[in-house]
């Protein structure tokens, strides 16, 4: 709790020290634009439970609830747009926030669920990444019935571990100790599919970002006996834990500040924690630096 207060203080300090930006006359801050529209458009990943999913016909998920709450705090209506992810976040920021895709080409106002490593944030010259709200970490869950004991990844040998194809978990496990447990890795196009198989007892374990896995285990009705996801410490250059924040185009400091304050209030009031809880997930407060 102390940590959160410090974070909010830090954010407030940041907001107060921002010098008024000098801009060309025809530049309009995103905040003025969304105020005029009365609506703020959030860019969210498509088919991405437990965060953002509209396959049932209406949007559901943590990111949807969070966007709705942020919009309400700004006295605006929230709208959402999904998109086809590019190869990495650089592509997504370019296509969805600052340049637009090659066809259509329009951009959204705010992107949620944005990786916020300080080095990554510093690399950005077109977007601001801020409002850090969550700490995610690669975590393992397993069915205790299938393991005599579980203490290290080596215990996964001979078992079936579900991962999302191409994810950090996939990369790490496949590469682990020169491929020692590579044959245990079962890859699925999405983590949702891996979680389904896991909850149906077709797998012995699943490894994925903690919050995402916890939410999907909840959505897919995993048996209660399954171990809650526990963070793993990764060797080598892998970054097994990271912060999430939000992003707007760099030319909109007013929008950034308004959203930063709104996010700080969501965290402080416990509303964000309640949103995560509604989706069966623990809220993991971001670390401070």
């Amino acid at each position: 709790m102390k940590a959160i207060q410090a974070l909010i203080a830090g954010l407030a300090l940041l907001a107060s020290t921002i010098a008024p930006a000098t801009r060309a006359d025809d530049d309009v801050d995103g905040l003025d634009r969304v105020r005029k529209k009365g609506t703020i458009e959030f860019v969210v990943y498509r088919d991405f439970p437990p965060y953002s999913d509209d396959r049932s016909g209406s949007f559901t998920g943590v990111d949807i609830d969070m966007g709705t709450a942020l919009a309400a705090a700004l006295d605006l209506k929230a709208s959402f747009r999904t998109f086809i992810p590019g190869d990495d976040l650089d592509d997504d920021l370019r296509n969805q926030l600052w340049r637009g895709t090659i066809v259509g080409g329009s951009v959204g106002d705010v992107m949620l669920h944005v990786g916020a490593d300080p080095q990554y944030v510093a690399r950005q010259d077109k977007v601001s990444i801020f409002g850090v709200y969550y700490r995610e970490a690669i975590a393992v869950s397993f069915d205790p019935k299938r393991f005599g004991s579980y203490s290290t990844l080596d215990d996964l040998e001979g078992h079936k571990v579900g991962v999302e194809l191409g994810s950090l978990a996939d990369q790490y496990l496949t590469n682990y100790h020169g491929g020692a447990i590579a044959k245990s890795v079962h890859r699925f196009p999405t983590l949702d599919e891996a979680a389904k198989a896991y909850c149906q007892g077709k797998l012995d374990s699943a490894i994925a970002p903690k919050g995402e896995l916890q939410g999907l285990m909840h959505d897919n009705g995993c048996p209660d006996r399954y171990a809650a996801p526990q963070p793993l410490v990764l060797q080598g250059i892998y970054h097994g834990a990271w912060e999430l924040g939000i992003a707007v185009k760099k030319d909109s400091p007013k929008l950034r500040d308004a959203l930063a304050m709104a996010m700080a209030r969501l965290i402080e009031s416990g509303e964000l924690k309640a949103i995560y809880a509604r989706h069966g997930m623990d809220y993991n407060a971001p670390g401070l630096r």
Binding site: Y172, T174, N175, R187, H239
Partner: protein
């Protein structure tokens, strides 16, 4: 015949006269009417038309026309130019097709036009409606169409095939190659083999599995499909047709399920072997440490039986690729004359910097030599095993490294040669290879994200090797591997090459020029500024006793997207979209005197 039938049924001299004119017109155009398999196989020998991208199914890009030659080319002047119009002024990598009084040319953003061959005026146009939000990996290009029967067929950025009526531009059939939302796209020119439309798949996104497909060109109905990743099932007429390779022979675990090897540059065909030769892209995931083994059939040339869709042989340039050396480049069949013998050979200039000569009947390696000045990743190719001799140039193991260790590798991932096709002249016996001299810093990048989650990405920074040039058009002797001549270009070369029996080699430059060189010496003989960078594929045809050369102009493609330091060098090049046609100058006085 149909003209006569109309005339006899309709009274009135004027209509008869009109029908007579129509008949005369169709006679004067020697290859009018539906395009047949025989015409396609003979394309290289018929200077009045261009029926295939590659100017023949082997892709030699050689024309027997000699009117424009190393003596006369100084008089080459524009005949007409056609603007693609609209706001989509980028990335014109196409080649024109010429048939039946019409020129068919595709443009970026999945567009296609039919032009009057004589005047350049637009007959019809087709603009594919692309779904908003598509994210094709590597710009908005299209590399040309195919002609068959009365159809013009091309692929689109949203991974569809569209067959249009060549006379009207109306859609006859469309087929979906795959789901664009899953990262699939299509940019290559399709190939026609025995009435079948041969296509690959494009897509840089994770999860794309390469394959070659053959459809009935008239209907779009699937005939066979052949995955280019070991372990996947092929199909023939809807029935299982054996898996490609042997499951888990060269891939660990279930990684083969999504092994990459996208066939994004299409194929060539050798009628004498009945083999379709297709290049394949890099394996996925990018980090080679996660997929020990050769990872077949990634970064390979795969020879597929045209009738049954089975792989007859394959040759892999970069086993267990770690540098993004796609092996998609064109494999061009030619007759290798060496030591008094003629060998049925084929050649490929690979992204990895080696010029490979293979026996095209069995895939056996005959020779491999560098066509770029620097290769850090391998010191050579062992002719006995066919494998590269690696020189310890792989990025570090991410599990062991505390920090991502960066290595400098050359060529860069954009390749000693990228997509732009080379040409072969049977007259000089030389291949003309559009090469680039650049390297890259490459490292494991732990601070990057995919769908909100950290993952281990690849970091690249491309660096030119020399201050004064990046591009180099090189004449390579396939018998010796020696570079006979070279032309250096400041910006990277990104356009196709053509050679003619007139002792000429044509290619375009990002600086905006179409250039002609002496095929034997490499001397630059002619150039013309087209107004935008030339990344298209030149072609040539004859009409009414005159030889024409055509090329698309319009800067774009992967260099401005991925080029790093190089992109800065080319950032001031104007974008564009037009098709230029040239012929030899005739004095105005002479023309009046003729009339």
């Amino acid at each position: 015949m149909s003209s006569n039938a109309v005339a006899s049924n309709v009274a009135g001299g004027s209509i008869k006269a009109l029908a007579g004119l129509a008949l005369a017109a169709s006679i004067s155009s020697a290859f009018a009417g539906p395009v047949t398999d025989a015409m396609i196989l003979n394309d290289q020998n018929t200077p009045n038309d261009v029926l295939t991208v590659g100017m023949g199914t082997t892709g030699q890009r050689f024309s027997s026309s000699t009117q424009i030659n190393s003596d006369t080319v100084v008089d080459l002047v524009p005949a007409w130019s056609f603007s693609f119009g609209g706001e989509k002024q980028r990335g014109q990598e196409t080649q024109a097709l010429v048939h039946d009084g019409k020129i068919f040319i595709t443009g970026s953003y999945s567009r296609l036009w039919a032009l009057d061959q004589k005047t350049g005026s637009k007959l019809w146009s087709y603009e594919h409606r692309l779904p908003e939000g598509i994210v094709p990996c590597c710009d908005v290009v299209n590399r040309g169409a195919a002609l068959y029967d009365n159809l013009v067929i091309f692929g689109t950025l949203d991974a569809k095939l569209v067959a249009l009526n060549a006379d009207t531009g109306k859609v006859v059939w469309t087929e979906t190659i795959d789901d664009f939302k899953g990262g699939y796209s299509y940019t290559a020119a399709p190939l026609i083999v025995k009435g079948k439309l041969i296509t690959g798949v494009s897509g840089g996104e994770f999860g794309v599995v390469g394959r070659i497909e053959a459809r009935d060109a008239k209907t779009g109905k699937m005939v066979w499909s052949r995955p280019t990743v070991e372990g996947h099932m092929g199909y023939l007429n809807g029935k299982e047709n054996g898996i490609s390779g042997k499951t888990n022979a060269t891939w660990p675990g279930d990684l083969w399920k999504t092994g990459g090897a996208a066939t994004w540059l299409g194929c060539t065909y050798g009628a004498d072997t009945n083999l379709i030769y297709c290049g394949t892209g890099n394996p996925a995931p990018w980090n080679a440490f996660t997929r020990p083994g050769d990872n077949l059939y990634s970064t390979s040339t795969v020879a597929i039986n045209a009738d049954n869709g089975k792989i007859e042989w394959s040759y892999q340039g970069t086993p267990n690729d770690h540098w993004d050396f796609d092996g998609v480049n064109e494999f061009i069949a030619f007759d290798l004359k060496k030591d008094g013998k003629t060998v049925k050979a084929g050649a490929k200039a690979d992204r990895n910097g080696f010029f490979y000569v293979l026996n095209r009947e069995n895939g056996k390696l005959l020779a491999a030599s560098p066509f770029v000045t620097k290769q850090t990743w391998a010191s050579g190719v062992d002719l006995k095993t066919g494998r590269p001799v690696e020189s310890n140039n792989r990025p570090g193991d991410p599990q062991k490294a505390e920090k991502g260790s960066s290595v400098f590798a050359a060529p860069s991932f954009l390749g000693g040669k990228n997509w732009m096709p080379m040409a072969y002249s049977g007259q000089t016996g030389l291949f003309y290879v559009p090469a680039n001299e650049w390297g890259m810093d490459i490292w494991n990048e732990p601070i990057t994200y995919k769908k909100g989650a950290a993952y281990l990405g690849a970091g690249f920074t491309i660096k030119p090797l020399y201050d004064d040039y990046i591009g180099a058009l090189r004449a390579v002797d396939p018998a010796t591997g020696k570079i006979v001549w070279e032309y250096k270009n400041p910006a990277p070369l990104w356009g196709g090459v053509m050679t003619t029996a007139g002792n000429l080699v044509f290619t375009g430059t990002p600086e905006g020029f179409l250039k002609a060189f002496d095929a034997k010496t490499g001397k630059e003989l002619w150039k013309f500024q087209t107004g935008s960078g030339v990344v298209g594929q030149p072609t040539t045809w004859e009409q009414d006793g005159e030889q024409y050369v055509g090329v698309a102009s319009g800067w774009g493609g992967a260099v401005p997207l991925w080029g790093g330091e190089v992109a800065k060098k080319v950032k001031d090049i104007s974008q564009g979209g037009s098709f230029w046609v040239f012929k030899l100058h005739k004095s105005g006085k002479a023309t009046v005197a003729q009339q």
